[in-house]
């Protein structure tokens, strides 16, 4: 799989993520990491960028010998949410770059790729676990308050 169009097609045909490692495995299987390298050698894969808090390899500056925490999910809800958080993070960090480098079309494309994937994951999450975002509310009963608030400790 060499082009971004192949990647889009692959993503379009893919509708189910149940394993927390799927995203990373997928990156390897379908060559997303290679796709990204075509865009910009300076960008991490979404998982690495997310746990580091930094998508940009040349800006990454670790503290002493601390390693970033590995994040993991205890159930399907957390797993989906983590994948959404990873993509949202990647999009945010790329957006800050694009705010002052508007002409980098490769980075715009990368942003769009993640955005599309995130929308799909949000759709899956919201169908199963309730709304993340009031704008896309689509239930007949009021569920905004019946999944956990983000600050609650999950046991």
């Amino acid at each position: 799989m060499n082009s971004i169009y192949d990647y889009y097609n692959y993503m379009n045909n893919l509708d189910n993520y149940n394993n927390m490692n799927d995203m990373n495995n997928l990156n390897n299987i379908i060559g997303l990491n290679n796709v990204m390298n075509n865009y910009n050698n300076n960008v991490s894969d979404p998982y690495t960028g997310f746990i580091r808090g930094n998508m940009f390899l040349d800006l990454y500056d670790p503290y002493k010998n601390y390693q970033p925490a590995q994040v993991s999910a205890k159930n399907e809800r957390e797993n989906l949410l983590l994948q959404i958080q990873e993509l949202a993070f990647a999009m945010n960090d790329i957006a800050l770059y694009l705010d002052i480098n508007q002409n980098d079309i490769n980075m715009v494309n990368l942003f769009n790729t993640y955005s599309k994937k995130k929308k799909e994951l949000c759709k899956t999450y919201e169908a199963k676990f309730g709304p993340l975002d009031r704008d896309y509310y689509k239930y007949n009963d009021w569920r905004w308050d019946n999944n956990p608030w983000p600050w609650e400790v999950i046991k």
Binding site: Y60, A69, E78, Y97, I100, W151, I154
Partner: protein, 189 residues
């Protein structure tokens, strides 16, 4: 307009109560170099940025800082959850309890309440961006102090993440600062 998404920017799940750490961490909520000050410093400065780049960057970083306010609040809430009065007294949080019960309240680590003086805005883009760069560096240094004060991996993980965000924000502000500086120099020549 702002939109709330029912998720944290980065997951936080602190299982061990640690009131001393809550008392230190609160400074990154309501202290001089904290996230609340950062969020509104940038969102307040953005109106007088000279072009689209500045308006976009300050809006987006300011918005991200609001997500960091939520992360810090979550950490403080979880570190203090289910504390007894005895434990609060022992950690020196009895005066916090007297004023605010078990509620959150933005102060620095010495209990000095948040003030809008932290917004530090001049209306001059170069001065404001220099302020922002310094603010990011100071916040990075405070995150390092906080990391040194704990051994709980549930606390260190989010702190390392937040520290790294200061580094990225500093780099973006610097990039914009240098771009504006170049324009100014070109005008003079």
């Amino acid at each position: 307009m702002w939109k709330y998404e029912k998720k944290l920017q980065y997951p936080i799940n602190i299982k061990k109560r640690d009131l001393k750490m809550a008392k230190y961490l609160v400074t990154q909520y309501g202290g001089a170099n904290g996230e609340l000050g950062a969020a509104f410093r940038y969102l307040n400065q953005r109106y007088t940025m000279p072009d689209e780049k500045g308006k976009a960057l300050l809006t987006d970083i300011g918005t991200e800082e609001l997500a960091h306010v939520e992360m810090l609040s979550t950490m403080i809430y979880q570190l203090m959850k289910d504390a007894t009065l005895e434990e609060l007294k022992e950690a020196g949080l009895d005066s916090h309890y007297a004023e605010h019960g078990k509620g959150l309240y933005p102060t620095d680590a010495n209990g000095v309440p948040f003030t809008v003086a932290y917004f530090a805005t001049t209306g001059d883009p170069l001065a404001d961006l220099s302020e922002d760069m310094a603010a990011e560096q100071k916040a990075r240094a405070v995150y390092e102090n906080l990391i040194n004060l704990t051994s709980d991996p549930d606390v260190i993980g989010p702190l390392l993440y937040l520290r790294q965000r200061e580094i990225v924000h500093f780099a973006r502000f610097k990039e914009l600062y240098e771009y504006y500086k170049k324009i100014e120099l070109n005008k003079k020549n």
